[in-house]
């Protein structure tokens, strides 16, 4: 039986695959970082959908917020790395 959750998961998986094409193909590093950020936001949405599937939404929302914070920290770290690399090469 096809439920609404199947539809959600399939849609988000297709979206993630589109982002993943950008991560693998992307000509510059910045394309890859943006693709990874998009994948992380889709992972957060998937986590909240899982939470509503389990009917423990308040717990999964906390974890989704933790993921979002991790995502921000990861993006900042990559940005700092690239900045330091550029100033070193100049």
């Amino acid at each position: 039986m096809i439920t609404l959750y199947h539809f959600f998961f399939l849609t988000i998986t297709i979206l993630i695959l589109v982002y993943m094409y950008r991560v693998f193909r992307g000509p510059t590093v910045y394309d890859r970082i943006l693709g990874l950020n998009g994948i992380s936001t889709k992972a957060i949405i998937m986590l909240t959908i899982l939470g509503s599937l389990y009917e423990r939404l308040e717990m999964f929302v906390d974890i989704a917020l933790g993921y979002a914070v991790l995502n921000i920290i990861g993006g900042l770290a990559v940005g700092k790395y690239l900045e330091q690399k550029r100033t070193r090469e100049c």
């Binding site: 199947h6 998961f9 991560v23 389990y54 974890i63 990861g74």
Partner: protein, 179 residues
């Protein structure tokens, strides 16, 4: 729990793992590995092990990505391939044997959530029934980790703390970087 989303997450994690192996630029490899960790954490959450999922997200997607980035910053981020065919065949063969052994061992694992399986019969029922009155902790996982296995957790924490001090000693920025 439907198997459908499990299969989708497994597909995504396999795709990202293959991409992390085969991508040539090492920085992209690190980023793809972070995405792989996210999907693995989602799989753990789907199996109901939310604390494991959070550890996987923090360590796999956060901390190890940072360590790889620092290592890449200190070296180059292009992969140099100069392996001979013989070495590649040995690597492929040993990895194949390892994968066969792991799959062979996983045949005997009990079904997820099976009440008749050996781990569910031993001490788990005692933990589930008695942990609230014995330890006054509402979360069973916390009670097991911090109370029943307290010495074990203390040892793990000591090991992780020592490893953290070692990484800090290796990676800290020195003031005499002008040389």
């Amino acid at each position: 729990m439907t198997l459908f989303d499990d299969y989708l997450l497994l597909l995504l994690s396999v795709v990202t793992a293959l991409g992390a192996v085969f991508v040539r630029d090492l920085l992209s490899g690190v980023l793809t590995l972070a995405a792989y960790s996210f999907f693995l954490a989602l799989l753990w959450a789907g199996l109901g092990a939310v604390d494991v999922a959070f550890t996987e997200a923090v360590v796999g997607a956060g901390l190890s990505t940072l360590f790889f980035l620092v290592a890449l910053f200190l070296t180059s981020h292009q992969e140099e391939v100069h392996k001979r065919l013989q070495v590649r065949m040995v690597t492929l063969g040993s990895l194949g044997v390892l994968g066969f052994l792991l799959l062979f061992g996983s045949v005997d694992l009990p079904v997820v959530g099976d009440p008749e399986s050996l781990p569910s019969k031993h001490v788990s029922s005692h933990y589930l029934r008695k942990s609230l009155e014995e330890t006054d902790t509402p979360n069973v996982v916390t009670a097991v980790l911090a109370d029943y296995r307290g010495f074990d957790t203390l040892g793990e924490t000591t090991v992780i703390f020592t490893a953290g001090i070692g990484c800090w000693m290796l990676l800290r920025r020195r003031d005499d970087s002008a040389t």
